[in-house]
């Protein structure tokens, strides 16, 4: 067992060194930069691809029937009722905002 121990202690005292640490660091950092650039490029390609898909889907949509149905809907709309409902909605939202602000101030 003493031979075993002496081999191990010799190995423990041994220090392995890269001959040119600066070159090694430079090369490793360039690998990291390359991997980072690749990751960024993939993310950009994904965004570009999804944007292209969306634009193709938009171009293929049947716009004429859609605009026609929208126009007919707007002509049938009761604008007076629409405005009253909008005003009530905004009023409620404002009241809630003021109420929430009061609650937040109370708990501060």
């Amino acid at each position: 067992m003493s031979a075993f121990e002496s081999i191990l202690s010799a190995e423990r005292s041994k220090v392995y060194q890269q001959r040119n640490i600066d070159l090694y660091t430079y090369y490793t950092m360039s690998l990291i930069a390359q991997a980072e650039a690749e990751r960024r490029m993939k993310a950009r390609l994904k965004i570009l691809g999804s944007m292209m898909l969306i634009s193709v889907a938009l171009m293929m949509m049947p716009f004429k029937p859609l605009t026609a149905s929208l126009a007919s809907y707007l002509t049938r709309l009761d604008w007076q009722l629409f405005l009253i409902l909008a005003l009530v909605g905004y009023g409620l939202a404002l009241c809630m905002a003021i109420g929430l602000r009061g609650v937040r101030l109370a708990f501060r």
């Binding site: 075993f4 081999i7 191990l8 010799a10 190995e11 423990r12 005292s13 041994k14 220090v15 392995y16 060194q17 890269q18 001959r19 040119n20 640490i21 090694y24 660091t25 090369y27 490793t28 950092m29 690998l31 990291i32 930069a33 991997a35 980072e36």
Partner: protein, 163 residues
């Protein structure tokens, strides 16, 4: 001198150039670890250390900053060595060409490489971590994400082989 955790934080905040400090700090350590686990394979040790740094950088966000960076990096490096050792045959033909890329402070300790030759790859990793780097069983278990009992049993099986 900045601590590892400070450099990790700076890297996550400010970009990859901060990581160069960690590469410089642990290049020799990971190279030595690779050399010991691979039984003196220079090219494999270099590749393993580079891959370990690359992986560490990629997964740096997942590093728990309350833990030891060196231990985390060691775990990654051991896994890289394991992956590369599975395909070690591709290194043999180039081994002679890169022999001069490193130095060691003493004469070549072939006796150590001969000593661990009977062990399989996993036993070599555990043996090196336990008896050369003197990590505790719990530290090794945490690094390699295995149970302490498994580390213990595999180590004792390995030591038995060497007797």
């Amino acid at each position: 001198m900045q601590t590892d955790t400070q450099i990790v934080r700076a890297t996550l905040k400010g970009g990859s150039h901060h990581f160069g400090l960690l590469v410089k700090r642990y290049a020799d350590y990971l190279f030595g670890l690779g050399m010991r686990i691979s039984g003196g394979h220079v090219a494999l040790a270099e590749d393993a250390s580079q891959q370990a740094f690359l992986k560490a950088f990629t997964y740096l966000k997942s590093f728990n900053q309350s833990k030891d960076f060196k231990h985390w990096l060691t775990g990654i490096a051991v896994n890289c060595c394991r992956d590369l050792l599975k395909d070690a045959s591709r290194y043999s033909e180039f081994e002679g060409a890169v022999e001069d890329s490193h130095t060691s402070t003493s004469d070549s300790n072939d006796e150590f490489f001969k000593l661990i030759r009977p062990l399989n790859d996993e036993e070599k990793q555990l043996f090196v971590l336990r008896y050369v780097y003197e990590y505790t069983i719990d530290e090794i278990a945490q690094m390699l994400d295995i149970k302490p009992g498994t580390v213990k049993s595999k180590l004792s099986r390995g030591v038995e082989k060497l007797r």
